[in-house]
């Protein structure tokens, strides 16, 4: 490989080996790379054979045939390979030290951006699956969960702030059904039923509205000469909900059943919330026209259900039905395992529903980008967009598709040819080294992480 590539790898190695940091800290690293002669799957503008993609200073500056390599620029020969936009996961919990602040029914004031852990190996593993952006969502333990953070998988950076996708819109997690009501019932508090969940959300919105109005009145009065009065009491909780009501935050709502999806559509209509994404939404196919009419979107699993009662009624055709009804749909992982092969998950919609290649790939690229409000930055290969690229041997929707490179902001963060066995950034100096240890298969990085004990639930039943 070229010099720059070697230098980049070297600098990662230096960081790993010596713990000596050469990279600029806290700033987003941007790189230059020329990807030569690949089959370019732009997603939004068709497929281009034997085409080059040039990334300069982290942005795509040219997509054309026969782009001349500038001196010193890293070149990847993609002859016979498929070049697609980096995969985006609209529902994940990787790279977080905490997922649920499940101690209260509403916690909109919390933010997963405060809990980012850039050392988690799951970030590198996601890169190895071509996934360059994920939505680090708060869990589903409470009806109104926390604000979430869209992260770029810049594995190798030591600064948690460097993982945050700069400029990505704010998002928030809500949850319906069994997960938030489990908590309520175990503490004998609201919510204990689906009706209770609606009540909790409506009550919170009403209080936020009053909070907002109190401040509006105060701010208006304040400018009047001679006004005397106390400001309303500050609350980060209601500040956040007020921002949601003002349309500054995208609502991502954990949901399964059609009735509760309808409920949230009504609540959002009543309170004027327009940017709405249903997560999981296993029964969304039943209300696809309603979702389309409301402009709400859905982020679903390909073929994963029956892990609890409310997820029994489901179908692998869910995504295809939603797409055919004009709903912006994505396929997500909610898992550090599935995130490594979202391209397989997307491919399943061709078997179940016969989606076209572009439609299937949209489910893991431009559509999740729209749901996160970052479609102007990522999700397709277009000039001016971020240099986030996944390069595959064989077509990504083929069962033989294997990611070769993952590029974030023009920097190769994963290269299958140079994939050392130990990619840890901060090894534990007190670890007990035991090579006979094997994973037990328990999955702790899920929506109910940290609250199993709280709710006394068996976490095997709560995969999401």
């Amino acid at each position: 490989m070229t010099l720059i590539d070697i230098n980049m790898k070297k600098s990662i190695l230096i960081v790993i080996v010596c713990g000596f940091l050469t990279v600029a800290y806290g700033q987003v690293e941007k790189g230059n790379v020329l990807i030569k002669n690949g089959t370019v799957l732009t997603i939004t503008k068709g497929n281009l054979e034997n085409t080059d993609v040039l990334i300069k200073e982290g942005k795509i500056t040219q997509i054309a045939k026969g782009i001349a390599a500038l001196a010193g620029i890293k070149v990847i020969d993609a002859t016979g390979l498929y070049v697609m936009p980096g995969i985006i996961d609209a529902h994940s919990h990787i790279g977080l030290d905490a997922i649920n602040e499940g101690t209260n029914a509403i916690t909109p004031e919390v933010w997963t951006g405060d809990a980012i852990n850039p050392f988690q190996m799951s970030i590198y593993r996601a890169l190895a699956g071509g996934c360059t952006v994920s939505h680090a969502l708060h869990g589903s333990a409470n009806a109104i969960g926390g604000q979430s953070q869209t992260i770029k998988h810049r594995y190798g950076m030591f600064d948690p702030d460097a993982m945050k996708m700069e400029g990505a819109p704010r998002t928030i997690k809500f949850a319906l059904g069994e997960n938030p009501t489990n908590g309520g019932r175990s503490d004998d508090l609201q919510p204990q039923s689906r009706m209770g969940v609606e009540f909790v959300i409506r009550q919170a919105f009403s209080e936020a509205k009053q909070y907002m109005e109190r401040w509006d009145v105060y701010n208006k009065n304040k400018s009047v000469k001679g006004f005397r009065g106390a400001p309303p009491a500050y609350s980060l909780r209601y500040e956040t909900l007020a921002d949601l009501l003002r349309g500054k935050i995208i609502l991502h709502c954990h949901s399964y059943r059609a009735d509760e999806i309808n409920m949230v559509l009504k609540v959002c209509k009543d309170f004027g919330i327009k940017r709405l994404v249903f997560q999981h939404a296993n029964e969304a196919f039943k209300v696809a026209p309603e979702l389309a009419a409301a402009g709400a979107s859905a982020s679903v699993f390909s073929d994963w259900w029956q892990y609890k009662l409310e997820v029994y009624y489901s179908t692998a055709y869910n995504a295809a039905i939603l797409v055919r009804n004009g709903v912006v749909t994505s396929i997500n992982s909610d898992s550090p395992d599935l995130i490594r092969h979202l391209y397989h998950e997307a491919g399943k919609t061709q078997k179940y529903g016969g989606l076209s290649d572009d439609e299937a790939l949209s489910l893991i690229t431009i559509n999740p980008a729209k749901q996160l409000g970052i479609e102007n930055r990522v999700g397709s290969l277009e000039i001016g967009k971020d240099g986030d690229v996944a390069i595959f041997k064989n077509h990504p929707l083929s069962i033989y598709g294997v990611p070769q490179y993952s590029i974030v902001d023009g920097i190769v963060r994963f290269d299958r040819e140079k994939d050392p066995g130990d990619m840890r950034l901060m090894p534990d100096p007190k670890e007990t080294i035991d090579v006979t240890f094997y994973e037990t298969g328990h999955n702790h990085e899920n929506c109910m992480q940290g609250v199993e004990q709280l709710f006394g639930v068996n976490h095997n039943e709560n995969k999401n």
């Binding site: 800290y25 029914a105 916690t107 919390v110 809990a115 005397r228 066995g421 090894p427 080294i433």
Partner: protein, 574 residues
Amino acid sequence: MNMRYRWTALIMVLLLPTWLFCQDDKELAPVSRTYAITNVNIIQAPGRKIEMGTVVIKDGLITAVGKGVSIPPEAIVIKADSMYVYAGFIDGLTRAGVIKPKEETKEKLKDPGNPPPDRAGITPQMDVRNFLNPSDKALEELRSLGFTTAQVVPHGNLLPGSAAIVLTGAPSGDAMVLISKSALYSELTGANNIYPATILGVMAKWRDLYRQAVQAKSYEGMYAANRTGLERPTSERTLEAFYPVIDQKIPVLFRTEKMLDANRALTLKNDLSFSLMLAELKDGWPMINKIKASGAKVFLSLDLPEEIKTTEKKDASTAIKKADSAKLAPANPVSKTKTPADLEKEALDKRKAEAIANYAGQASSFQKAGILFGFSTMSAKSKDIPANLRRMIRAGLTEDALLAALTTTPAQLLGLSDRMGTVDNGKMANLVITDKSYFNEKAKVRYVFVDGVMYKMEIKEAKKSDGTTKVEIEGSWSTTTQSPQGNSEGKLTFKKDGSGYTGTFSGGRIPAPVDLKDISLDGATLTFNYSLNFGANPVKVEVELTVDGDTLKGITTVGTFGSFPMEGTKDPKY
């Protein structure tokens, strides 16, 4: 007359033992508060040395430093021939000398999402001065190492209260205090299943409280200036505790052992703009530039991960080269006897050794980056501290920088430079005197002066060389260990095994005898360790005892839970 005299004499004799006992309890005041430490190597400050000079201290202050200094007639002379005197060390964060309030069993909350502040760990109005105990064993340990000043904080998690800067020796809690409310103390840890329980809730609660405090403070100001048309502001102690922070009069002191927590503290500083002090940092090297740019004051931890024994390390480093080549060519004859598991283990050992080296090199990295830093001891075991300081020197920290981090820099960071940190005229008489350079492996602290009060260290000479008293530990011993939960009785047994010993320990809450590991008898010094299982986590207990005939006495250190005094007597042979 005669009878009467006899009676008086008898009464005197009867009373005598009691009188002596009283004297034992109450230490005699020294005959003079003037001392002259003569013929001593004076390390006045890093890079500033006077050979064979004299330091005179009087009434708690240093009054003369140098050669040919005249010694006041009333001075108690300490002939410190060829010893070394340094300014007393300053500890940026510890709980030595701070009483831990007894944990009461608290009733289950009806609504864990809205707990009373104290249940959520939010008691910033508390003052560590209410919990000071000058006779705390940990404080004595710290002082014996040469620390004369420390910033102490109350027990607790999120916002336990305000810190104080104290002397490590004083007759009373109040007398310890040099500066009260030196900082508002915080740890970024949540309450157990109570809001805020996770780092998510902790960060949000921090912002919420701080902004509420800003609002309350501003409203109070408005009301004080003109009450017309305003409701009377109510007093809220949790918010009022933030006022000096908002006024930038005191910093927020965070215990951030991990760089991710230090990052979070920086995030709060940036969001809320208070002045920030980070303490007990252990893995801060990747964020040096960020810390530098933030202007935060830093205290690095004196706790280091345990070193891998040198022989093992050598093995690992030579083996790794083989492992690298073996990976490419499995048929390499060098690796013939090694299984893939061996190679994997070696590679992991190598990464671990590098990680350990990074921790030891943290201070040196900070020095090279030009960041001022002091040290804190909160999670360090006292007995490891001198060795850890030497490890930092081996990892590239200069002795001058190390001394600065123990004396002048923390004085500067804590605003104490006018009164301590160097051995100069007019400074507080906080001194540490060692028989060799402090950083010499064989150095022993001989005297420590705190505020002009002398503490003479007992030197435990190893009895190894004289050979007159033979130490025999074989047999069974009854032990008593003091802990905050009360005394616990135990049984130690030792059996000769070749040139060494095997042994067991039982008693207390240990159901079956546990085997002792690494039993070593060096002169009269007996050390060993064993593992306890508290739940799923093994806790290493390290014991160091001095054997004197049929008694033993020393310290048992239970993981990070603390060190407790242990005593024992030999059971009669059966």
